[in-house]
Symmetry: C2
Subunit: 233 residues, 2 copies
């Protein structure tokens, strides 16, 4: 008899095994929803980018300046935070369509939240969809949201060694936007060393060093976004 | 018959309930170990502080300067990171006893890691133990490590609204160390507004604004650490 729940199944998993298999189930369920989201976005010709970085990496500021630079390209934004609609209000002030997802104690967005977000923003064909994940360099790396690419955003003030210490997101991402590079002299951090560390983890990483409010590096980032839109079949 | 595993127990939890109860079990198990850690630290007269903040909040830099200022007070450090022993090496360079815990894809330290860490650093009676958590403002808020107090560290470059957007850690912490305040003029962030937001979430929060490498605010922080050591029975 199984000691876990008293049933007769001798192959009943032990509690520890059950926990692992439930975690796997959770990720597998997310994968299934993410694939459905991806298929829908491809069908609708929407380029979705999943922005991941710590609180204060500059994700919302990057989006504000990106949206203003790309306008009138059709765009929409799904904003993730534990609490408040501050970021959604900042995006709405640019005139862009936006919805806010609050996760409470949750540490990441999952694909089902994107399904609901899509119902709210209804992205147009041939548009860009930015998903700003919960501020966290760690957990969002594990969750596929059906995006075209993960974009890791990291502020130069975070220090040169962060790609080595938190490698998973740098491995999962296709693009690194290195923000606040104008602050490098004040914090004694070398952007070149930071990029070298990121490429050590992921040699394929496309890197855009920017200082969004000053416009530094923005032409290259905007150019890449346009090329992604144009590459859509 | 239960549709989950085929046994005859009609009260068998549904898969979703089971996941929630397993998460609760996981936290309950952590609480039990944390209480044992807390009892042992109190018995050994060790003041343990759990430092929590994003990657790049300045936790290790704060510790380097704190250790040098407090020397020869007996101290030890448990360092948490996903990968590398960079931080442990920085701490070791100050002459302080240190051990590194790597969590892989894990997003926080748990109490069992502290049990193992204690076996490695063996803190002396009447000493300070600093636990530097994995760089993450979100998940470590949920896990008791048996510490005397949680210390949230936040860099002024992260922006004024972070306590409102990530309230859980500001509620769980007793102390906020607001780092890199010398950068405030360069990032157009008002430290007073940031503190106001943090106190809105937690009116009891003790706040130390610092710029550790310049020594700014360090006397107050060091003074508080000394008073914690002296208050020990």
């Amino acid at each position: 008899m199984c000691r876990t729940c008293g049933c007769d199944d001798h192959d009943h998993p032990h509690p520890h095994q059950r926990r692992i298999s439930l975690e796997t189930d959770l990720l597998a369920k997310n994968e299934r929803i993410a694939e459905a989201v991806r298929a829908r976005l491809e069908h609708d010709r929407v380029v979705a980018l999943n922005l991941i970085g710590t609180p204060g990496a500059g994700k919302t500021t990057l989006l504000e300046h990106t949206i203003r630079a790309l306008s009138p390209t059709p765009m929409s934004v799904i904003e993730g935070d534990q609490a408040t609609d501050h970021d959604a209000r900042r995006i709405a002030a640019t005139g862009c369509t936006v919805t806010q997802v609050n996760t409470g104690t949750g540490c990441h967005l999952d694909a089902s939240m994107i399904e609901r977000g899509l119902a709210a923003v209804r992205p147009r064909a041939g548009s860009l969809l930015f998903i700003e994940n919960v501020g966290n360099l760690v957990c969002p790396a594990l969750f596929d949201l059906g995006e075209r690419a993960k974009v890791v955003t990291m502020s130069i003030t975070e220090g040169e060694d962060k790609p080595l210490k938190y490698p998973h997101i740098f491995r999962a991402a296709s693009v690194l936007v290195l923000t606040k590079v104008d602050l490098a002299p004040h914090v004694d951090v070398d952007p070149a060393r930071c990029i070298e560390h990121a490429r050590k983890i992921n040699p394929e990483l496309r890197v855009f060093p920017v200082a969004a409010p000053r416009g530094h590096g923005m032409a290259e980032w905007i150019g890449w976004l346009r090329s992604e839109l144009e590459a859509m079949p």
